[in-house]
């Protein structure tokens, strides 16, 4: 335990700095660029996902410990399901009868 605490927590610092940088970047892209609003949404959406990944790995340690692998499988599985449900539904309901 003592060895653990005496080591400088570099990954926490990197995560912290990256999170702040991504937040500031999102503010910058939103207020100080001339992209159309849909492009801005895509960019800040990408930043948000990237930041979520940083949080999960740097601060919440999803891959570590006894339950690491179960956590990762769980997250990946939920994301796949959500994507199937959302994009499947949109595809099925817009490609055929709605186009008539």
């Amino acid at each position: 335990m003592s060895a653990h605490t005496s080591r400088f927590p570099w990954n926490l610092l990197v995560g912290f700095v990256l999170s702040i940088a991504l937040t500031l970047l999102a503010v910058f892209v939103t207020f100080y660029t001339d992209f159309s609003s849909s492009v801005i949404l895509w960019i800040i959406g990408a930043f948000a996902i990237f930041q979520a990944i940083i949080q999960l790995f740097m601060f919440m340690h999803v891959t570590e410990g006894k339950e690491g692998i179960i956590n990762v499988i769980n997250i990946v599985n939920s994301m796949i399901l959500a994507l199937i449900i959302i994009f499947g539904t949109i595809w099925v309901l817009t490609s055929g009868h709605a186009a008539m």
Binding site: N77, T89, L93, S95, G96, H97
Partner: protein, 524 residues
């Protein structure tokens, strides 16, 4: 509201049921009071959190619902046994096929399987109970209350009548303004929450509570299938919860999720229903596969052939189960791309399922087979289920499905999948694990009668449906003209009316007569 609006009136059969229900309730209360069993019933059963007792209550409720759903089935068969029959009118027939479907899937198949899971899983993994025993009791009582709520619909207020799929716009309040379909929305919501809790319970139990040394690939195959089933439950049931919530809002508060008017989309209901509904099919059939695997390996006196491939096949089926839902409504008029992709994913399911069939066959090969009753159910399952599976591949082709859709061919197909896949499995499992529940073995002789009557009756009932279906007979038609020519085929069907009767008579005999007999025997 006057009393004759509250109770359903005007049909002699329903009046008879109302009287029978009242007498049964009075009789039960009198019997329990006479035997002075109220306190015992309350403390030993109603408030129990013991997984075995909860499992037994699930099984009892499931057998009861099997009887109710079976009577619905018999009435439908009596009505369609000849052209222009007048036993049921169109409305009554609609109500009966709706309740038959809902009860058989959600209140018969689910509790029987969950009941066996409850009894067997903690024993198989060496745990004292499930992870959350109180939640487990809550799941059971949610299911039970939902089942009872759904069951009183036909005597109080009126049954749901839009099919077990309750498609909009028919299930919307413009077309079915009565309370019937509200029963559907609300009781299935309650049952669904109970099932979801069961799913979570078993996922945690199997991940966390296995005996030391039981690694993933050392788990019994029934534990594996239960685990994967529970994962599908957790994945799929929330979709149904949301869809039913939208349905309730539409029907009770006038929102427009599924209406044609005001920007709603009835097809969204179909989409969400089958996003849950297809995985639901695997939720009921995968634990059954596990039971058959246990039974076949035991009575062939061999290890299960290809254990690992079996596990991967189950996982593959679970994954594909979320990718096939559109095959239930190819005829909605979708684009060629959508229909082709979903045809392909559907046919892909035949691959892992085929793997399992071969695993069972190779387990049997060169085994020293003992033809016990539960083994007979497992052996009959293989050919019957294969017929159901192969006709399923026929239905999976979108272009051909335009021909088969909503015919009796489809009805025959899913009965050939679900009855061998679930009912045979439950019987095999009950005969197999009965001693674990009650401490004695069921009588083999009565068991064999039960088996042969049921299997012959089943085949005589549903095999002809394939042919009348190909001749163009639609499902959910309460009658048909003599000139359709279906009468001759269907008259053949009416011969199994008797056989059908023997299913239920035999099942009930088995459990009602033999059970007290065996109890007294075991106490000697």
């Amino acid at each position: 509201m006057s009393l004759d609006e509250f109770f359903v009136t005007g049909d002699p059969m329903i009046l008879a049921s109302q009287i029978a229900i009242a007498l049964t309730m009075v009789g039960l209360v009198a019997l329990i009071t006479y035997l002075k069993r109220w306190k015992w019933l309350w403390s030993e059963w109603f408030t129990t959190v013991d997984h075995k007792k909860i499992g037994i209550m699930y099984i009892l409720a499931g057998v009861l619902m099997f009887f109710r759903g079976g009577v619905d089935g018999l009435l439908m068969k009596a009505q369609t046994s000849r052209p222009e029959m007048g036993i049921l009118d169109a409305q009554h027939y609609d109500e009966i096929f709706t309740t038959h479907g809902v009860i058989m899937i959600l209140f018969m198949a689910m509790p029987l399987l969950i009941g066996i899971m409850n009894v067997v899983i903690p024993l198989q993994i060496g745990a004292r109970d499930v992870a959350f025993p109180k939640l487990n009791a809550l799941s059971f009582w949610l299911f039970f209350v939902a089942a009872m709520l759904f069951n009183i619909s036909f005597v109080i207020g009126g049954s749901p009548d839009a099919g077990w799929t309750s498609y909009f716009p028919l299930a919307g309040k413009e077309f079915t303004p009565g309370v019937g379909n509200n029963y559907y929305a609300i009781s299935l919501q309650i049952a669904g929450i109970g099932t979801l809790a069961t799913g979570i319970n078993f996922v945690v139990t199997i991940i966390k509570m296995r005996a030391p040394g039981m690694s993933w690939m050392k788990m019994p195959i029934f534990t594996w299938t239960t685990f994967i089933t529970s994962i599908i439950i957790v994945a799929a049931f929330p979709i149904f919860t949301v869809a039913l919530l939208y349905m309730s809002l539409d029907r009770l508060f006038g929102t427009h999720f599924f209406t044609v008017a005001a920007g709603g989309d009835p097809m969204l209901w179909l989409n969400l229903f089958w996003l849950w509904g297809h995985p639901e099919v695997y939720i009921v059939v995968l634990p059954a596969f596990g039971m058959f695997s246990e039974v076949i390996a035991t009575f062939a006196r061999k290890n299960l052939y290809g254990y690992k491939s079996m596990v991967y096949a189950v996982a593959g089926i679970a994954f594909l189960s979320m990718l096939v839902w559109v095959h239930h409504f190819f005829t909605m008029g979708n684009s060629a791309a959508v229909n082709s992709i979903f045809s392909l994913t559907t046919m892909m399911i035949a691959i892992p399922t085929g793997v399992k069939i071969f695993n069972w066959l190779f387990t049997l090969r060169k085994g020293r087979i003992e033809f016990s009753t539960s083994m007979l159910w497992a052996l009959a399952f293989i050919p019957c289920f294969t017929i159901g599976g192969v006709t399923g591949v026929m239905l999976a082709m979108a272009a051909a499905d335009y021909q088969y859709h909503n015919t009796m061919f489809l009805v025959a197909h899913f009965h050939y999948v679900l009855i061998p896949g679930v009912v045979f499995a439950v019987f095999a499992g009950l005969y197999y694990w009965w001693p674990k529940m009650f401490g004695f073995k069921l009588n083999e002789k009565i068991g064999k009668w039960h088996f042969w009557l049921f299997v012959i009756g089943f085949n005589l009932t549903f095999m002809p449906m394939f042919f009348v279906g190909l001749d163009g007979m639609s499902r959910r038609m309460y009658t048909y003209a003599e000139s359709t020519g279906w009468g001759c085929m269907v008259r053949l069907l009416s011969s199994w009316f008797l056989n059908n009767g023997s299913w239920f008579r035999c099942t009930c005999l088995q459990y009602l007569l033999e059970f007290p007999l065996c109890v007294t025997e075991s106490r000697k």
